[in-house]
């Protein structure tokens, strides 16, 4: 196919660099500098998609971010698939492959289109809800098909091989948009010495200057733009970011910019020096001042069949002609409400093709551009509008009628003008999305027929975004904004002389949104308001008649403003229609709200480098390499990777755990306990602090001794536990649970700083500084004696003492504490000595068959002893007494410690609270499921009262049967009772309520 709509000259394309691309399987040609949309139009491709709901053929409407129809699936490989790309914003590259996102079997012959024709009458707003409402249970099924029929693009099923990153910036002035306003603002701020970031979403900076008919300082506007960009590039503190969209505006002038670095080159980022380049970058900018120089978007007029390919926005027609050298048809009819629209007709005429007529809604248009049209002998039909387009896959004619705007009716007879393109202009809407992201409501300006920024602190809207449409005004407003922003950022702002721009005399525009038809809106051919969501004027009328009067409700009912274009073209027209029907003003129907992101953004850019290993970094103990060498299976405990069990050969987890457990009970085992939280506490009031933060008493704990401590929140519920050792009179070493370490430190700092600042006490986390190895089992003492340089006899080193010693020649703290119920020593050494000590232990321990064990065996051993794990037996609603740990509660301590008062609330005294018990399944081989609910009757009825649940459950090799810990209502009074538990396989199992201490209840084994 030849580029039949390509003009012989003009445009900012490079005709010496032809590019091949593929659209829906057809190979086409374009030029460097094209967008995918301009290249498709050059090739005369009219139908780019089928619409979302009615499957109507659709073509290119706009030339920018507001494009509702030309949404394509991009990518020549599976991994490179990108859904929902706006063809108007995608730079053409050699080898580009694009497909329509809707249409089956293809966009030209679409089966859904037939349905759509039927549906045209039968698919009002809410059609799906109304039609598929019963039976409700079938909705998921319906939804599958509806979504398939209506979907936009698809995600790739392969991993994305590209890399993305994030950058943080602080700047004085962030300028969004590099059109006339933004460039003028950047010049003023940059010359003032401000740190400036100037970003623009297009391939090239310059915005409307790139296709302007006007001149600046006697030169084409684009030349002025190039000069300014060149000067800005020389300023050391100005950062220029093209292909960069300011997507989100967050609190306190925090703006996220999405820079596409390689998407104009290929699907996937090309290699540079053998390395993949960063495909997209998210800039996180904290700006002292933000200048919104985002310009304005042109509103199309709403008339019958305004979605047939060939209907376009007037400004887009100019852009395609002047910037891309593409004229999207042969014969043009322009329908406009203002002078600006005339430019499309002038450009069309000057490109040598026929302008059939300019249809102006005003009775007496009289600006300079109108005069220019008259001087070219272009026919101007005043007081009229295009009320309907004719044609199916391409416009064939425009129906023009005289209109009475106030009466909302067509006057007199209508006429049909043969044409293939209808351009429309209903005036401009300031692009104020970024001013609304932080929740500030836009404000309606009746003189502009548009919303402007509601005012965000630290933000200045200028130029088109501020309702200044003309080039001269936009430049002036931009300079002023740049000066003001620099001054407010604390710089000595310099003023810049406004470049010379000839004033353009402009006639007054008229407010027209949807165009009346000879038939009522409900009966007229479809008048599309939001083409992406197939929302029509009739649909909005129907919605308001059905009671959805607030614009927010209308939007949700009809779908107006959803989708990738977020109502950029349709919102104001939709509000105007709702306002007309409800006989309100536009601001009375509500305001329009915008949310991030301005245009869709790839998840890769949001994630940046925070994926794979950096998604949630793992923590490893200093002995990790040793565990890996020993073939450990690991489990994640918070961020920590802990050895779970150490299988020998092809051993199963069950067999490994049974073997490891027996080794500890009969010989000696070793556990890496380094992940336990460790907090150094010092200061003259350290002891008093412990008395207040723990439930039990610390007054008499002498140096060299350890004590188990229980911590509650002030509501009396257990939050953490651990052993704390007295190192010296004013010095303690606290341990916490692995997962609770950071929270406990925060907790203690909170109480110290906010309630007890008078206490002299200091905290420091030492979790990573120490490695802890628990040597436990009947042979633990014999082994320790071989590596430690101290007397480890029962008399010299009793239970719950700690000693300073040298172990394998390095300084160590040995704590004689036990979480297994066996004789145990926890050897703590400086982390970088860990491997040496570990190796020494295994060297000496070989003769005792020193057995490494993991967290699973640790769980079995501690559960046999009835030792709780905070977070497993507890869930924030369990008191110390619920756990049977009254022995650990110091009711006589003088200070009302954290949690004490709450333990005398009536609720914490209820006898039917859930209490910790043991469960012994009647079937000794059975291991109850953790989480199983406990009931008192064998016959399961739903509903029935639940009495508790299993918190821990294992098979004990030493007991020879399964056993469990559970929380059971009134559990302490139910000893010996039989309870029932429903398993997920549907069986009901019986268990006897027993003491939670299954093994060695007198503690004889560790008191040796």
């Amino acid at each position: 196919m030849s580029q039949r709509n390509r003009l012989g000259t003009g445009g900012r394309i490079d005709r010496k660099r032809p590019l091949s691309f593929n659209f829906n399987g057809v190979s086409l040609q374009g030029f460097a500098g094209d967008t995918l949309a301009s290249a498709l139009l050059a090739n005369g491709v009219d139908v780019i998609n089928r619409s979302f709901k009615y499957a109507r053929p659709r073509g290119v409407v706009s030339a920018g971010a507001d494009e509702p129809n030309a949404i394509v699936q991009l990518g020549s490989t599976e991994a490179g698939q990108v859904p929902n790309v706006r063809a108007t914003q995608q730079a053409l590259y050699d080898g580009l492959v694009a497909k329509s996102t809707n249409g089956w079997p293809n966009v030209d012959r679409d089966v859904m289109g037939l349905l759509g024709k039927l549906g045209g009458k039968f698919m009002p707003p809410g059609f799906y809800y109304k039609t598929f409402m019963s039976p409700a249970s079938a909705w998921p099924k319906y939804e599958q098909y509806i979504r398939k029929a209506a979907g936009l693009g698809r995600s790739p099923v392969e991993n994305d091989p590209d890399i993305y990153d994030h950058m943080n910036h602080h700047c004085d002035v962030l300028i969004v948009g590099a059109g006339p306003t933004g460039l003028a603002a950047a010049l003023a701020a940059g010359r003032s010495g401000a740190r400036v970031i100037l970003c623009d979403e297009q391939e090239e900076m310059g915005g409307s200057l790139l296709d302007s008919r006007e001149s600046i300082d006697g030169k084409p506007a684009a030349e002025w733009a190039a000069t300014v960009v060149a000067e800005l590039a020389t300023l050391p503190d100005v950062l220029l970011l093209a292909r960069t969209t300011a997507n989100g505006y967050h609190d306190h002038n925090f703006v996220t910019l999405h820079e596409r670095r390689t998407e104009h080159l290929a699907d996937l980022a090309p290699l540079a020096n053998g390395r993949r380049q960063v495909r997209a970058r998210m800039h996180k900018v904290r700006a002292k001042r933000v200048v919104l120089a985002t310009g304005a978007q042109e509103r199309p007029l709403v008339y019958g069949r305004n979605d047939v390919p060939g209907n376009m926005i007037a400004g887009a027609v100019s852009t395609f002609i002047r910037r891309y050298g593409v004229i999207p048809g042969q014969r043009l009819v322009l329908s406009t409400t203002n002078d600006h629209g005339y430019r499309a007709a002038l450009d069309w005429h000057d490109a040598g093709r026929a302008v059939v007529a300019i249809v102006d809604a005003r009775d007496k248009p009289d600006g300079d551009l109108v005069a220019a049209a008259r001087s070219r002998n272009i026919r101007i039909i005043t007081g009229s509008a295009v009320i309907e387009a004719q044609g199916k896959k391409r416009v064939t004619a425009a129906v023009v009628g005289g209109i009475d705007i106030d009466g909302f009716r067509v006057k007199g007879s209508t006429q049909e003008l043969a044409c293939d393109t209808i351009a429309s202009s209903g005036g401009y809407s300031p692009v104020i999305h970024l001013a609304a992201h932080t929740g500030r409501r836009p404000v309606w300006r009746e003189d502009l027929f548009g919303f402007v920024s509601g005012g965000v602190p630290g933000q200045i809207a200028a130029g088109g975004a501020n309702g200044r449409w003309s080039l001269r005004e936009a430049l002036g407003d931009g300079l002023e904004a740049g000066v003001r922003a620099a001054a407010e950022a604390g710089l000595n702002a310099v003023t810049v002389t406004l470049p010379t721009v000839a004033p353009v005399r402009e006639g007054k525009p008229v407010a027209l949104y949807d165009v009346p038809h000879t038939k009522s809106t409900m009966r007229a051919p479809k008048q599309f308001v939001d083409q992406q969501n197939d929302v029509t004027a009739a649909g909005i009328e129907l919605a308001t008649r059905e009671g959805f009067e607030a614009i927010e409700h209308v939007k949700r009912y009809t779908g107006l403003g959803f989708g990738t274009d977020q109502g950029k073209l349709g919102n104001i027209n939709g509000m105007a229609i709702a306002a007309r029907v409800t006989k309100q003003s536009i601001p009375e129907t509500g305001t329009t709200v915008f949310r991030p992101n301005y245009t869709p953004i790839t998840f890769g850019a949001i994630a940046g480098r925070h994926c794979d290993a950096f998604f949630d970094p793992r923590r490893y103990t200093a002995l990790h390499a040793w565990h890996v060498e020993r073939g450990a299976k690991f489990e994640e405990v918070g961020q920590w990777m802990r050895p779970w069990y150490f299988p020998r050969g092809s051993e199963s987890m069950h067999d490994a755990v049974q073997r490891e457990s027996r080794a500890v009970r009969e010989g000696v085992g070793i556990l890496d306990a380094s992940t336990l939280g460790k907090i150094e506490i010092q200061g003259k009031d350290a002891r008093e602090f412990l008395n207040r933060i723990y439930t039990n008493a610390w007054t008499k704990l002498e140096p060299g001794k350890c004590r188990y401590g229980l911590m509650c929140k002030d509501d009396g519920m257990v939050m953490d536990d651990g052993v704390t050792a007295c190192i010296a009179e004013n010095h303690f070493h606290m341990t916490t649970t692995t997962g609770g370490a950071a929270g406990v430190l925060d907790w203690m700092e909170l109480w110290h700083q906010t309630e007890w600042p008078e206490l002299e006490v200091y905290f420091n986390s030492t979790t990573d500084h120490w490695v802890a190895m628990t040597v436990t089992g009947p042979n633990a003492r014999k082994l320790l004696a071989e590596v430690a340089d101290i007397d480890v006899s029962a008399e010299a080193f009793p239970y719950m003492d700690w000693r300073e010693a040298k172990v394998a020649g390095v300084p160590a703290r040995i704590f004689r504490i036990s979480f297994t119920g066996e004789l145990s020593y926890e050897i703590n050494v400086q982390a970088n000595y860990a491997m040496h000590v570990c190796k020494a232990l295994f060297e000496k321990g070989a003769k005792y068959d020193l057995t490494p064990y993991g967290t699973e065996t640790m769980h079995v051993l501690r559960a046999e002893k009835g030792f709780v794990i905070i977070g497993q037996e507890t869930d924030g609603s369990v008191t110390p007494e619920d756990l049977g740990m009254q022995w650990c509660v110091g009711y006589k301590k003088p200070y009302s410690w954290i949690g004490r008062r709450a333990l005398s609330r009536p609720d914490t005294h209820r006898t039917d609270r859930k209490q910790l018990v043991g469960l012994k399944p009647l079937d000794p081989k059975l291991v109850l499921q953790e989480g199983a609910q406990i009931v008192l009757e064998k016959d399961i009825k739903i509903p029935m009262p639940m009495y508790g649940h299993v918190t821990s459950s294992y098979f004990s090799p030493v007991l020879g049967h399964g056993f469990a810990l559970a929380l059971l209502k009134g559990g302490s009074e139910r000893m010996g009772q039989t309870v029932y538990l429903s398993m997920t396989d549907g069986t009901v199992q019986a268990a006897e309520v027993v003491s939670p201490v299954f093994y060695d209840p007198k503690g004889a084994r560790h008191h040796v």
Binding site: H250, D251, H252, N253, F254, R286, T438, G439, R440, P457, D714, D715, D746, E749, L750, Q753, T754, E755, P757, S896, R900, R901, A902, S904, R905, P906
Partner: protein, 107 residues
């Protein structure tokens, strides 16, 4: 993302460094054992949720690790002041309502 002035560091820092800790100025009753169940329940569980000016406690968790207070508008997210624990806010709902110019934002 909020930009928060830490009164201990004397610098603006990013919200990522901080953790919100709920309503500020919740004093633990001086003599818990003589507090009624209702008073203790109020202290433990009841918190303000104002639309407008709010005094909040924040923690500079990955900074100086100090707790401090923030007066923040929960509608506009504007931070009006930050101050150290033990100090009283200079901006309050009462003082603010006296200023006609701020009424719009507080509404």
């Amino acid at each position: 993302m909020l930009h928060i002035y830490c009164p201990h560091c004397d610098e603006y820092r990013e919200e990522e460094e901080f953790r919100p800790k709920g309503e500020a100025h919740i004093a633990r009753p001086a003599e818990p054992e003589s507090a009624s169940d209702e008073d203790w329940g109020n202290y433990l569980f009841f918190r303000k949720n104002p639309r407008g000016l709010h005094h909040e406690q924040w923690f500079h968790a990955v900074g100086c690790r100090k707790f401090f207070n923030v007066t923040r508008d929960t509608v506009s997210y504007e931070i009006l002041e930050t101050y150290k624990v033990g100090q009283q806010p200079a901006v309050t709902a009462e003082s603010r309502n006296g200023q006609a110019s701020d009424k719009g934002a507080a509404k």
